[in-house]
Symmetry: C2
Subunit: 279 residues, 2 copies
């Protein structure tokens, strides 16, 4: 990753750790998803999470739950009173859910995850019950079998605290307000496919982008390692060593279908800057 | 599944629910993995789990952890004091971990999972530290990078309570003693591949087994839906409807490599009982 949002202490200088060659040209740069946007993106990518609730004896109890989400990102759970976690939140509303990105990398601690902590409350009235029920069913179609069983109830986790971890060294907190106001990255679901396609079929274009806009005119190869609505992450080979960089799209993307035209536009702009003919 | 280990209350009779045709022949049957064996099997299948710890304000805090395990099944965590969960267990040892089977089915609540609750304690002495360190590194090779950083510490979750959920209607508790004494199913890692192979290439053999040993001489098709060291689960088509059954291997398997000979033996025994020629 080309930067980090970690604000905490470090493990200290590691002797012999390789240094990263700095850019020698101008870098177009790109904002990153905010911690609140990262949190909302993880929330939107799956429907399964771990719940920490308070057991009868006062011990923290981890269990599996499914969820949908309200517009403001509040997770909607559907829990049975026959299950320990259902009785737990009815007794004590304090709870948190931890959501993990659906793709688990080889090193599990490199995975993105977020903890949303707050209070599990029943919907306030019939209208909110209907909204919560619809949100849960939209995300968890299988719940239609049991959502109306008398032992099941809908719970809305009112989020008070958000802690996002993007992998090693990328982590930050978000306020409840920022979380509620943020929206999921519309590109997230298509990112893995787009990255594979760019690396397989457009290595030349990635290298041109890296040289013209990524600050590394001396790059000899470029690999796309990530992308989101704001920009594209590249890992570059140079004679000075391997370096990461990040380049912004000309404007933030509002839907996944805009990825193709944004990639083409970025490539043409880079070609024009380098005076290279497009293919 | 042909039976259930649920001992709790039911959701009540569901009007119009389809009935399952009973066996009309003798069923060889098979024990199932005990809840303690199911728990140990889940523990052995992966190295990533959700931790519920107690946050500074007394709220349950869900986070992602990696783990190895001691011989008695105690999970060994390696947590940074820079992370909230590391500070949590240092302040309050009460914690639980929830482990989910690596293969997530289309309906997430059908997945096997187990919650292990107890207390996170530091290794008692240098010898236990070495054992715990080795157990963690064996399961989480990437931890070799940070296990000796000064902010990281090893924690052993001393398991006091075990709650296993095998999916809808399959759930039970295990005592701490049973959990410590049980061993993981040695066949679990190879089960998915073996099931796919049996269904793709040995449908005839499965049907013969179902007819001769599964109690359904009137079965017209058989699909393998699961297997473990004790036996094989089948889903059968009959003129009376679809039925599950389960058949024991001649003896419990002690390693995955025994699956092939056990399947052959079971098929030959079934063929002999039916007077059918083997292929």
């Amino acid at each position: 990753m080309s930067d980090t949002t970690s604000t905490g202490p470090d493990h200290g200088v590691i002797e012999g750790a390789p240094s990263v060659p700095p850019p020698v040209g101008e870098v177009a740069g790109a904002p990153r998803l905010s911690p609140a946007e990262e949190a909302r993106t993880l929330l939107a990518r799956t429907n399964v999470a771990a719940l920490a609730s308070m057991s009868d004896g006062g011990e923290p109890w981890a269990s599996l739950i499914t969820y949908g989400a309200l517009e403001d990102g509040s997770p909607v759970l559907c829990l049975s009173q026959m299950a320990e976690h259902g009785r737990n939140v009815a007794r004590d509303p304090r709870a948190s859910v931890m959501i993990t990105a659906p793709e688990l990398p080889a090193d599990p601690l490199a995975v993105g995850r977020v903890t949303l902590a707050g209070r599990c409350l029943r919907p306030a009235d019939a209208r909110e019950t209907a909204t919560a029920r619809a949100a849960h069913l939209a995300a968890v179609p299988a719940a239609s079998v049991y959502v109306d069983f008398s032992d099941f109830a809908l719970w809305i986790l009112r989020v008070e605290r958000v802690r996002w971890v993007g992998g090693y060294g990328r982590m930050d907190s978000a306020s409840a307000e920022a979380f509620a106001a943020a929206r999921a990255d519309p590109v997230a679901g298509a990112a893995a496919g787009a990255i594979a396609h760019l690396n397989a079929d457009h290595a030349d274009a990635l290298l041109t982008i890296a040289r013209a806009l990524g600050g590394y005119p001396d790059a000899s190869a470029a690999l796309c390692t990530g992308l989101d609505r704001y920009g594209i992450d590249l890992s570059l080979d140079t004679a000075r060593g391997r370096a990461p960089t990040r380049v912004a799209w000309s404007a933030p993307l509002s839907q996944a279908s805009a990825l193709r035209s944004a990639s083409v536009e970025l490539t043409r702009r880079a070609q024009s800057l380098l005076g290279v003919e497009g293919r």
